[in-house]
């Protein structure tokens, strides 16, 4: 046996220090969202829920939250459908230029959100399209399409091919094969693509900020809160957003990735 303690103790200290570093800002955020005072910094003056009350009675914030959910659901659904169909085309059909299309579908991943956003802003302005939530949906589909495509494409393995061929031999039309065979067999990948897209859309700020004006998403609304400096209301919103993101991650972990692992 090796002298275990020599490696175990420094390793444990390192891991604990790393976790402390990783969790420090989150813990400070959550603790001071309950601050009974005007400043979300030490000393902690006692527990109060008034900032949460403020958040839930703030109609701008609540509207932005609903907008964010809508933009997230619509853009994630669009990205997933488009990504799945494209993945099916490139995995199952002989397409000339397949390499080019694959490259194009992944290309937005290599461009920063800021540049995608500025490109859309300039194009929309030049064509006279007004700033709106629809523009955010358009941008978020561009951002999420590569991920949805990549996830579906990597999971369109050989094991569904024979089921699809059998259906075709039995007289199913192309759309029937897709809807009745491929989609049900691909369900875990489709769900993963949808939840990941929703999570990224939910958190996306820069594109949403550039292409909206009056109706905004939650991150854009939080950005305008940040201008007022340190404020326990921002802590409370942040904690709520954190809780929602955690719930999404747990749902993904329990239902999507577990099922995929079993399949």
């Amino acid at each position: 046996m090796r002298p275990q303690a020599l490696t175990t103790i420094p390793a444990a200290v390192y891991v604990l220090a790393a976790y402390a570093f990783i969790y420090l800002p989150v813990i400070v955020l959550v603790i001071f969202s309950f601050q009974d005072g005007r400043l979300p910094v030490p000393p902690f003056k006692g527990v109060s829920l008034r900032w949460y009350q403020e958040v839930f009675s703030d109609s701008d914030l609540m509207e932005a939250l609903i907008n964010s959910v809508m933009v997230g659901v619509v853009s994630a659904a669009l990205a997933t459908v488009l990504g799945f169909l494209a993945a099916h085309a490139l995995a199952r059909h002989r397409m000339p230029g397949a390499v080019f299309f694959q490259w194009l579908l992944m290309a937005p991943l290599s461009v920063s959100y800021l540049i995608i956003g500025i490109g859309l802003l300039i194009t929309f302005t030049a064509t006279g399209m007004p700033k709106s939530l629809l523009s955010v949906v358009i941008g978020h589909v561009v951002i999420n399409l590569p991920l949805a495509f990549g996830i579906c494409y990597s999971q369109l393995g050989g094991h569904q091919v024979s089921a699809e061929r059998a259906a075709r031999d039995l007289g199913a039309r192309e759309w029937q094969v897709l809807a009745l065979i491929s989609v049900p067999m691909m369900w875990p990948a489709i769900a993963a693509a949808f939840f990941l897209s929703f999570t990224l859309s939910w958190d996306e700020f820069i594109v949403a900020w550039l292409v909206t004006r009056f109706d905004v998403t939650l991150p854009v609304e939080i950005w305008s809160l940040l201008r007022s400096g340190l404020d326990p209301t921002t802590n409370a919103v942040g904690t709520v957003v954190f809780a929602i993101s955690m719930a999404l991650v747990i749902v993904m972990e329990l239902f999507v990735f577990r099922r995929k692992a079993r399949a």
Partner: protein, 281 residues
């Protein structure tokens, strides 16, 4: 063309058209705008390289680019140095059944809102913040001071975020290295350190390089962290670009700067391409 071939095009068309309209066209528009220029409030639709010349001749723009490169380089190096030991410990020293939990815990805050995470660091670093007050209480500082609004604060915010990302990519790479290699090295008399330096480290470099490259791309294109934590004293490229868009409404200059930033990222990609062997991760 047979029926199935046609079906393929129908399936591909929506995604292709979407990206053509909202990704390729905006790029073409940006490229076009970048050779136009704005004079006063007028858009001058004449091809010239005036914006690029301005970029290369004014220290205001070049400083932003070099500041971006410096912050990003420091971020990449520090994040790898912090994340590697964490990933190594999780992969090799933590019992197998606890590894997944350990990893999930290490990257959980990765999923919190990016904006809110930067704001949270402000709570820690600002003048009345946790660090300043703790240091005063301990007697290490005579009066409170702010650690925010500096390049250091930006780097800290970045390192926090990317340590989590890199711990994930490096861990994924480490667990794929067959334990037989290490066993073989140790059977042949290598110490643990030697087997790490000569066996594990070289085999894990692809994961490190991929993670480092993703970190580079995301950090150099980020506006949020430098704006919230770094303040406005020393701008990075995304801040300088957005100033052109928002304060001056100079779309041509902003387009030219965006393309320069993309060119820099592409150059770094090409320079590191031979280490970025995607298939080995």
């Amino acid at each position: 063309m047979n029926r199935r071939g046609l079906a393929g095009w129908f399936l591909l068309a929506p995604a292709f058209l979407w990206l053509a309209a909202f990704f390729v066209v905006p790029f073409a528009v940006m490229a076009l705008y970048s050779v136009w220029r704005r004079e006063g409030t007028q858009l001058v639709r004449e091809a010239s390289l005036a914006n690029y010349e301005a970029f290369l001749s004014k220290s205001y723009f070049l400083d932003a680019l070099f500041n971006s490169l410096e912050i990003t380089a420091v971020t990449v190096v520090l994040s790898v140095l912090f994340a590697y030991p964490l990933a190594y410990i999780l992969a090799f020293l933590v019992p197998r059944r606890w590894q997944r939990l350990g990893l999930v815990l290490a990257i959980l805050p990765f999923w919190t809102s990016y904006l809110v995470r930067s704001y949270s660091w402000l709570l820690v670093l600002s003048e009345n913040g946790v660090i300043s007050q703790t240091l005063v209480t301990l007697g290490l500082l005579s009066e409170t001071m702010s650690f925010a609004n500096s390049n250091g604060a930006t780097i800290l915010g970045f390192v926090h975020f990317f340590t989590m990302l890199l711990a994930l990519t490096i861990y994924a790479n480490l667990v794929q290295i067959s334990p037989n290699y290490r066993r073989a090295a140790e059977d042949l008399g290598a110490s643990r350190l030697q087997s790490f330096i000569h066996v594990v480290l070289p085999l894990s470099l692809p994961g490190v390089m991929i993670g480092a490259f993703i970190t580079f791309v995301l950090a150099i294109g980020d506006y949020i962290t430098p704006q919230i934590l770094g303040g406005n004293r020393e701008l990075v490229m995304p801040q300088a670009i957005l100033l052109q868009v928002q304060r001056r409404a100079d779309f041509p200059m902003a387009s030219a700067m965006s393309l320069v930033l993309m060119l820099v990222v592409s150059a770094v990609f090409l320079a590191s391409a031979r280490w970025l062997k995607m298939d080995r991760v």
